[in-house]
Subunit: 361 residues, 2 copies
């Protein structure tokens, strides 16, 4: 079993990475605060893994909330179902919520935990590659608003994260690829060695070799944990984790949540960020090409949707949280494994890059 | 001008208490973070004071959200209106929200600030006595759920609190009395000297003498600040601020939010807590009588509504946040100015006290 610690002072917590860990309740039961547990899952994951999880919770008072699957349901209205159940079942401040699902379930369960009675404890059991390497780590929780993704939320750290690689066996190919977008991101923004390792093993990773996947998830989490420990509430450096995300959020919003998966939008957004970095003269065309190749090998789109136009892109990017007093701040690369947060890319330059990528005028 | 500091490390903030402070923007403008401001108020207060506030904000990009007035609208659904406006107006992470209103507005505005883009800054301008002495101080924010009051929320501290005593001139008598319930509470739970001072000045206070009111608000805030500084997230001692509140919440829930004002329910709840403390042999009948007299002089109800019965009371009290793993914890007095959090009152004893107060069997 691999194990790392996210170091956040009194909010520190462990991340455990191993096949079969879900069924090893003896190891992780100590992270449940009291006698009450509420499992939050969705209607795709619950039939597969809910029973296995509940077997580990004998002796606890367990209830469950099964949400409809998909980013389209990551709303305040659906969130309220979790509060309904918690109150109907008389859950008190010492209850523990468990997120069993992908990023949407984790974000919603975490946000419910942040808000229920002004904060209760929770555990993340991510069931997708994307949530194992990204959304379950770092305490960002929340829901979408029709006018912007993740616009309503909280920073709320879990008690622990359990990444059970066996759960990836049932993950659809498209979602697996979407997760790889975030894995590749860590290489690009802060770990050149990891990027080379990914280039070397991309074939076996895409074939879901459990040993290699375990290593990829571990190195992704180590990178994320280091960035988050430095800047928990995204005052500065943490923003580099959003490489490709400002472009990506615009794509997701324009296409409707769920039509493009988050990781797919990040893939195309990363390609745009690479192109923009080259355009600024900060990055070599060679690194851009290696990035594009790896994204392609991971089965990801590298161009934005052709039905979007430049104005729509710029408008939706302007709504992104990385905007500070009207200044659009983007994550760009100055080398392989070296990212910066910058306002230097002009609207003209961004427009050029978008047009070159096939976006309508 | 009176001024005190709520000491919470890096989340510390000042509370300013003075007549006319709303119009003294030069003094408090430095507490606005960036160039964007969103004022949250309600349709009773906005016609009275919104223009006066906006005059102080020239040079800022100001928008406003006017909520319907009343506890019945303290819901997630109404909260969403604040997010709608913030996003429509492109407010970013450096925006500052300003709560201009009573407890409902302050709780909702504060919760919106806690959640918008995972947390932005806000300022409290309480317009009721209750919110000046209680809800605007200490960082508790949130909304109600049909099954319980303040069940969804966050701890989120404001940048500053501006208590303008002139605003109390338009406060209806019933709401003024409701605020006095919390003022009297501080005397009962932790400040016997203040309690005696209140007994001495209750006539002039009810006539809204500004000098005396200023002192009453100041001493209330000093008491609250001391308790909150010791226990920001209500792990222990902060719970004493809830004297009368577990009974009170049951009343509010049973009668429908807004039919009994929060302070009125707390008044009746405090009378029940005093009676229970005497029943346990912890408090003298003399102190109970002094408490009842002061509550009565403040125009507060001292008996619960006659249409409630014991089972309903106990059920609704069981949903209160002070319940820990099934144990009902109540705030009780062991003397004037001395409160404890206790699970020692049995259901039988609570039932006796409720029956004696006229609640149905």
């Amino acid at each position: 079993m691999k194990h790392l610690e996210l170091d956040l002072g009194e909010r520190s917590y462990p991340i455990f990475i191993a096949p079969g860990i879900l069924a090893d309740g003896g190891m992780w039961q100590k992270y449940i605060a009291g006698s009450q547990v509420c499992i939050v899952s969705n209607d795709t994951i619950a039939p597969l893994y809910l029973a296995r999880l509940k077997q580990q919770l004998s002796g606890k008072k367990v209830c469950e909330v099964i949400l409809p699957d998909g980013e389209a349901f990551k709303t305040l209205t659906v969130l309220e179902k979790i509060f309904d159940t918690l109150l109907q079942e008389n859950h008190n401040r010492s209850t523990t919520l468990i997120a069993l699902g992908g990023g949407v379930v984790g974000d919603m369960c975490g946000f419910a935990a942040a808000c229920y009675q002004r904060g209760v404890q929770f555990i993340q059991i991510p069931t997708t590659l994307l949530s194992m390497v990204d959304s379950s780590v770092g305490g960002k929780t929340g829901v979408n608003h029709p006018l912007g993704k993740n616009m309503i939320g909280a920073f709320h750290q879990p008690n622990c994260v359990l990444a059970d690689l066996d759960l990836l066996k049932t993950l659809p190919d498209r979602e697996f690829s979407a997760g790889m977008a975030e894995v590749i991101k860590y290489g690009l923004i802060c770990d050149a060695q990891f990027f080379s390792w990914l280039e070397q093993h991309i074939g076996a990773l895409m074939a879901r070799d459990v040993e290699l996947l375990s290593e990829a998830v571990y190195r992704s989490c180590v990178n994320k944990a280091a960035v988050v420990a430095e800047d928990e509430r995204e005052g500065g450096r943490r923003a580099i984790l959003n490489l490709g995300h400002t472009f990506g959020h615009a794509i997701e919003t324009a296409e409707g949540y769920g039509n493009w998966l988050h990781g797919e939008a990040v893939g195309a957004g990363t390609a745009l960020a690479l192109a923009l970095s080259v355009k600024l003269g900060w990055l070599s065309a060679d690194v851009e090409a290696r990035g594009i190749t790896l994204l392609t090998q991971a089965g990801l789109p590298i161009a934005p949707p052709s039905n979007m136009n430049v104005d729509q892109f710029l408008l939706l990017m302007g709504r992104d949280k990385k905007v500070l007093d009207g200044q659009l701040r983007l994550i760009l690369l100055t080398g392989l494994g070296e990212a910066v947060v910058s306002s230097e890319a002009s609207v003209e330059l961004i427009t050029e890059v978008l047009l070159a990528a096939g976006v309508g005028a």
